[in-house]
């Protein structure tokens, strides 16, 4: 399970004068620091999928980057299956699979080599990697292009390879940062099927998105972040109850506006 408590992260601003008018009005800008994430808490149990919602610039990516150990938070705690991510990031990284919509591949390596490289970085031995690639290529239907160079792949092929690369080490949790942004319908479907298969394997998944239909289709829980603060963290049903008609858009707007009042 994943447990995030009172996470906070600020970035220093090089030149506050250069910011746009809108950025200057953001309440999170305090002096020379921009407090991107102020207070975010959420939790996911095994086998659950949590959808992370929020407007652009709300702090979703920063939160997920802290969760994946790419960024170090200024305050708060992150626990993945009882391992403190901040205290032992190297151990935590072995438990995490991470993928975003903009994740790329090494174009001059073949699909197989891309997956192998990350398997090796995770300390897996050759036979284990070969077995796992076989398994994943069956699951994601990658046999036809696995040994071709990635630079010539279609978006769908790239996304399948990126998924296989992200889970080659059998992560205990999977983090997805807007995994369907910029993808065509087929590639999006691949990602959604993949999330379903993780759920079936009892792996907790946290993913950020702007597509509410994906949330209603896949998620057990919903978390909403606005201006770096957690506005909601509960079950999908509780989220739907926010709107009288049970519409997710209305529920989302109601959650965001609730803080403004």
């Amino acid at each position: 399970m994943i447990e995030i408590k009172q996470l906070a992260k600020k970035f220093s601003v090089e030149n506050p004068k250069k910011l746009s008018e809108q950025e200057k009005k953001d309440p999170r800008l305090k002096g020379r620091f921009f407090h991107s994430v102020v207070d975010v808490s959420l939790s996911v149990d095994d086998g659950q999928v949590i959808g992370l919602l929020g407007p652009n610039g709300a702090g979703k990516t920063t939160t997920l980057r802290m969760l994946s150990t790419a960024l170090t938070p200024d305050a708060g705690s992150v626990k993945i299956n009882e391992v403190d991510v901040l205290k032992s990031p190297l151990i935590a990284r072995q438990k995490i699979g991470f993928l975003s919509g903009s994740t790329g591949l090494y174009g001059r390596l073949t699909g197989r080599e891309n997956i192998e490289y990350f398997g090796q970085l995770h300390g897996m031995d050759k036979t284990a990697i070969a077995q796992r690639i076989e398994e994943l290529s069956q699951m994601l239907d990658m046999q036809t292009f696995l040994d071709r160079r990635c630079e010539n792949f279609s978006t769908g092929m790239k996304q399948k390879t990126a998924i296989a690369r992200a889970v080659v080490h059998r992560p205990e949790v999977v983090i997805l940062d807007e995994p369907t942004t910029g993808l065509d319908i087929m590639a999006t479907q691949t990602v959604l099927d993949f999330i379903r298969s993780l759920k079936a394997e009892n792996t907790p998944v946290i993913f950020s998105t702007h597509h509410l239909d994906e949330v209603s289709e896949l998620c057990d829980r919903v978390a909403v972040i606005d201006n770096g603060v957690s506005k909601f963290d509960d079950t999908l049903d509780a989220f739907k109850a926010k709107a009288e008609d049970g519409n997710l858009h209305t529920a989302f707007l109601a959650t965001i506006n609730q803080g403004a009042r």
């Binding site: 970035f11 980057r65 960024l71 990284r93 994740t103 174009g107 970085l121």
Partner: protein, 397 residues
């Protein structure tokens, strides 16, 4: 670390563009260009030598011997110009290639007539051998006139020689041959090697830092369970290897081609140069290069990982290239030697040391100090690079 290194090298080797710049360019393209330049230059020289020159004589009657000689020599053809024409205009209109104007006091008896100044009107822009070819004919007359005059006065042959050149200043060079040509080419060699190392390392450096950001592979690499310093070292070694390989290939290709091209002509000279520099000196030169390449690789990787995109990285590296020229130019400036303060200027001292090694006048103890100080700088920069790779501001700009 080796995992990262091997993967980066594999990617590098599969990139045709890099391979072209690293291997094909120095081995084939450079000598091909040099060969083409030599070919065209030789062609142009042959053409100038064999071209039939149209000439006109003014005052031909005063110097019948020169006139006859010109008329009888192959490659000259006389034309007659009307009187009172503008010489410059005639030459510009290409009616005539040159006009020889002989003064009226010209005579074969120099003792009576005194010095004669013959004017050669010609269009002396671009490659031509007009002056040389006319001069060859005039010189024969000069010799003949000198002989007649000396015979008239009744001078012995030794006296004639002495009179023509009363004092000869003869240079006796105490520097041995290696030292003197070493001083001439020794400054250029490190200049070439440094630039080549930097050039060879530049493309892979851009790819390994800014390229990862642009392709969106950096984030996944950063959250793999590998210590940051191992990632940096793997990348650093790849860049350093590329720089060294590129320099080595270029230098050996230059050596091989110069031997091949100079076969039959100056091969003895080339062999002399190569054999007088001992194996030890070559090894020492190579060893000196290692910390230098280390410095280049660290700086390039730091710049590259800071840049948001390929384009940004390339503009930083262009500026770096300009900066690198400064310490190298210092080492070429006359009067700058491996003494006092100059021995402590980074890069300049290595360039000077390579020059001393080529000259064969190296103080080997000084080499330790230079190698040591350069290695310390390289390590410090590598340390900085690791620190740089841990900064969120650099990685997620």
């Amino acid at each position: 670390m080796w995992l990262v290194f091997l993967k980066e090298v594999k990617e590098l080797v599969r990139d045709r563009k890099t391979l072209f710049f690293m291997i094909a360019l120095p081995i084939l393209v450079m000598p091909a260009f040099a060969g083409m330049a030599i070919y065209f230059a030789k062609n142009a020289a042959d053409e100038a030598q064999n071209k039939v020159l149209k000439f006109a004589l003014v005052g031909a009657d005063y110097a019948p011997k020169i006139a006859t000689e010109l008329r009888n020599t192959d490659g000259f053809s006389e034309i007659t110009l009307p009187a009172d024409v503008d010489f410059a205009e005639q030459i510009r209109a290409e009616n005539v290639d040159f006009i020889l104007e002989i003064p009226d006091h010209y005579s074969d008896n120099v003792l009576q007539s005194g010095q004669a100044i013959i004017k050669l009107h010609m269009h002396d822009a671009g490659l031509n051998l007009v002056f040389q070819r006319v001069d060859d004919i005039v010189k024969a007359q000069v010799k003949a006139q000198q002989k007649t005059a000396f015979d008239t006065i009744g001078l012995q042959p030794e006296q004639q020689t002495a009179l023509l050149n009363p004092i000869v200043l003869e240079k006796v060079n105490t520097a041995d041959q290696r030292e003197s040509w070493g001083a001439q080419i020794g400054g250029i060699i490190p200049y070439f090697i440094f630039i080549l190392c930097l050039q060879g390392a530049m493309f892979p450096a851009t790819d390994l830092g800014a390229g990862e950001k642009e392709r969106g592979t950096l984030e996944t690499l950063l959250i793999s369970p590998t210590e940051r310093y191992k990632l940096v070292l793997g990348k650093f070694l790849t860049i350093a290897l590329a720089g060294l390989t590129s320099a080595l290939i270029t230098v050996s290709s230059m050596a091989i081609w110069s031997i091949v091209l100079s076969q039959g002509m100056a091969i003895q000279f080339v062999i002399d140069i190569m054999s007088s520099i001992g194996i030890l000196d070559f090894v020492l030169m190579f060893l000196m290069l290692i910390p230098v390449v280390g410095i280049f690789a660290s700086v390039l990787l730091s710049l590259s990982i800071y840049a948001k995109s390929f384009k940004e990285a390339q503009s930083y590296m262009g500026s770096l290239m300009m900066l690198i020229f400064v310490p190298i130019i210092f080492s070429i400036l006359p009067g700058v030697e491996l003494k006092g303060g100059w021995a402590w200027v980074p890069l300049t001292n290595v360039a000077l040391a390579i020059k001393e090694l080529v000259k064969g006048t190296m103080d080997y103890f000084q080499l330790f100090a230079i190698f040591g100080s350069t290695a310390i700088i390289a390590l410090a920069l590598l340390g900085f690079c690791v620190h740089w790779f841990n900064r969120e501001k650099v990685l997620f700009r």
